[in-house]
């Protein structure tokens, strides 16, 4: 009995490692600006959401809106955004800003059938550094990400991402990057 529990723990740890590895690789692809490749990491039913946050009193239900979004994307709208990047008129991101994802505090929230097909929800803390042109100034975005990963044909893919930002009024002049 004790051994089985231990095995399950090991399995779970391995799964978390796999999830982390996927998310690190995904972040590397985003920071490199290889958005075509990034799209191949997304499931066809991807939901990518960044809800708008407002300062609320402590007793309020949530500071995150259920109807207001900085971004509320599906595969098709993400593909449109990526298509925009590769037009000749991508003024805001050509030359690209320099962004760096820092991902930490990984937590496994839930696993669905760990040994067969498999979907898992992972949380992590996210810090993104962004600078552009020859300015010494830079932007920092902080938040928590909740990512649902799904194994399809033996490969992990991102099925859902919700970014819970630590910002109400945003201090960036545009959100022309993916978080």
């Amino acid at each position: 009995m004790a051994k089985t529990i231990q095995n399950q723990l090991v399995d779970k740890d391995l799964l978390v490692r796999e999830g982390e590895r996927f998310l690190y690789t995904e972040a590397e692809i985003l920071d490199a600006g290889d958005y075509q490749k990034w799209l191949t990491l997304l499931t066809d039913d991807i939901a990518y959401q960044i809800p708008i946050r407002t300062t609320r009193e402590r007793n309020a239900h949530s500071s995150f809106s259920s109807q207001a979004f900085h971004m509320n994307e599906n595969k098709a709208s993400l593909e449109m955004r990526v298509a925009r990047v590769y037009t000749d008129y991508n003024f805001v991101e050509d030359p690209p800003s320099r962004s760096r994802h820092f991902l930490t505090n990984f937590r496994l929230v839930s696993v669905d059938k760990p040994n067969s097909k498999c979907e898992m929800v992972m949380k992590c803390n996210m810090l993104i550094y962004r600078s552009k042109f020859d300015f010494v100034s830079h932007d920092v975005l902080s938040g928590e990400r909740e990512d649902t990963l799904r194994k399809e044909d033996g490969r992990w893919k991102l099925a859902k991402r919700t970014v819970y930002l630590d910002h109400t009024t945003m201090g960036m002049s545009n959100l022309a990057i993916f978080l």
């Binding site: 300062t55 449109m80 925009r84 003024f91």
Partner: protein
Amino acid sequence: MNRNKLANRYPRATEILEEMKDSIKDGIIPIGIFNDEEIYQMEIEQIFGRKWIFLGHESEIPEQGDYVLRYIGEDPFIVARDESGEINVMLDACCHRGVRICKAEQGNTSHFRCPYHGWIYKNNGKLIGMPAQRQAYNDLNKEDWGLIHIRLEIYHGFIFGCLSQDTPPLETYLADQKYYLDMLFGLHKGGVEVLAEPQRWVVNANWKLAAENFSGDDYHLIFLHHSASDIGATPYSMFENMKGYHIHAGNGHCVSIALERDQDGSKTEFPYWNFPKDIYKTFDLDSLDEKQKEIVRDSKEMLGNIYPNSSFLVMSVTSDQQSEPVPFFSIRQWRPLGPDKIEIWNWMFMYKDTPEQFKQDSYRAGMTNFSMSGIFEMDDTLTWETATWTAGNHFSKKNLKLNYQMGMYRMGTAEVDDKWPGPGKAYYPRYGEGNQRYLYTSYLRDMLGEEKDQEGAEIKQDGKDYSKSISR
């Protein structure tokens, strides 16, 4: 304030603006006005201290006790619906020490309590007590020490606040802009409602650059927003879209309408701003005159600026390449945060009595294109930032004079159209910068404390004291 006093208080700003007063007749604007601390201080006093400023919409605070926190320039105001259902706009500052008493951006409360000594105010601003009142403030007349109310007026549910007692009532102030706002927001019996909390973000740009962009800078869509056309985010050709009118709508307000002249209405490609037929069939056109009905039917896109810093936009866009384009209403406030900084407030609206799914589609399509992550707007903020940067630099400030001449001296095809059926002076097509010049001429008049508008007419200042119109 009279002109001499202004010139004494803001000598350098006055000098730049006097120079601009001459140069704008030739369509020339010195870039310095877009990043200058003294001009900004003068604007806070002469513009934001005197004009009607957009704060929010009734539908944001539908219940008694609902409140939102809003700003006019740097001053914070609580916009609250009290127990009697009335809306109040009150300075967010305790009368005892000036401590801010509103804790959140929005919420519901019966009272606002100062955290410092515990003075407590009802949601209509009345001071009702404080700790140890008998020992501390026994004879205080609490009636005299309520929160400071400012003037507020409401049009189509849109709440405006004004810091001055001399400014005419909102409807007088809106002048011909009313006619165009009625066309957009008066089309549905249930009116419009806000779809979600506003998006707020800070951009290192001067507020006037945003205001002039929405006043009638359609020309930039051809190039800056080429990517949006390339990927099919909007069904319009940006060149075709230049067929349309620029209108000076009084008191510095501007409107820009994509509308082909003399077209056969039955052939309109995107009637009613591309609203789905089952929705535009429910439009209440009875409130419109015949001319408005035609404009509403035939215009593809419409935007404008409510002087000084509130804008509106209706156009049709898609959230992805597989979805049909849908129209959205975006309302803006370009809140000044200094000579080189604004906070953009972006609200999405829709007619209240339309299907929930349509509202969601409209919100999503609108935000995909016009927001801080917007396919269109992400490129706008880039240009406003670098122009503001340029404006603050020593050499450019002295030497760079900007060209606003499109539509003058046979440059640009825009010409006055005397047959325009609506009110206000109209130009056709939209290859002109007359709206921007109109905006800045009004701006100069206000900044320099003058009494005639650029077309020589007396400004609608009737010398009355409107302090009685304060709600409490």
